[in-house]
Symmetry: C2
Subunit: 141 residues, 2 copies
Amino acid sequence: MERIERIAQLYPTIIRVMGRIRSVVHEGMDLSYNQYKMLLTIYDKGSCPLNQLARELQIAMSSASEMVERLVTQGFVLRTVDEENRRQVTISVTGRGEALIRELQQGIVENYRALLGRLADDEQEELVRALETLAEILGKL
Amino acid sequence: MERIERIAQLYPTIIRVMGRIRSVVHEGMDLSYNQYKMLLTIYDKGSCPLNQLARELQIAMSSASEMVERLVTQGFVLRTVDEENRRQVTISVTGRGEALIRELQQGIVENYRALLGRLADDEQEELVRALETLAEILGKL
DNA sequence: GTCTAATATTTAGGAGACCGAATTGTTCGG
DNA sequence: CCGAACAATTCGGTCTCCTAAATATTAGAC
């Protein structure tokens, strides 16, 4: 089979498998994966206006606004009107949010450890290399 | 950084990038990716009772039923009551559905070609190898 | 043979993640 | 000061997914 066809064939399988693994890893956590990703993005930047957050996560502003709303409701994040430019809202992580991030980060790594522990040492090593290659090459697209 | 931590770090990035690429590839198609996947699954088995379809796609039967409903509405798929066991419904692809599959399969491969064409030859080769490694190793989990 | 338990599906109700369009509030340039 | 541009939100809609309840059908116990 031709290379491109082979990729087209492998691609959906891998997305499905990776998605399933991710949902196993995030199973029972207090935040959906998407909410966690958003929380982390805000945290990494210290604080962040909504429009930037939407751009970063590559979603529509209306979607970002909704998700922020869910995080606000749960008390993990705070909305503050920017006094320099009162049109703009700055989102920042609360203490509770930070605590959750620490907890989840740990839990997630542990779940990966439990899952990947089933693999032989050299398989783990191969996995890392494959993921790194993928990140590098796909990043160019 | 420890290996597992490195994987935990790479994993979400890759899922995100792969998801974005997939949505580019499926952009403007007449079927969402999930509906396409379902249609293909039915097609590959010739026809398929709903419960098997749900098991195959790893979704709840109610979800499968809904998705089938959408495909029926669009005329790509047919529901038939199994006369051997009238509780069971068999799903099969219509002529229109088959035509769509052919059209999409071609379009998808072409979109992958256009996208991956930006990569150098040896990068494409590396990509195939990485995807194959991934499929093999993650399949064990 | 009838009646209950199991099986297959659908329907109902609900949530999250997404979108585009319309709306509200704010600021800035003319 | 007023309209254009900008930032965010609200609104209405779709899709995917779930659990629980309702509906049919069948098989097995008695």
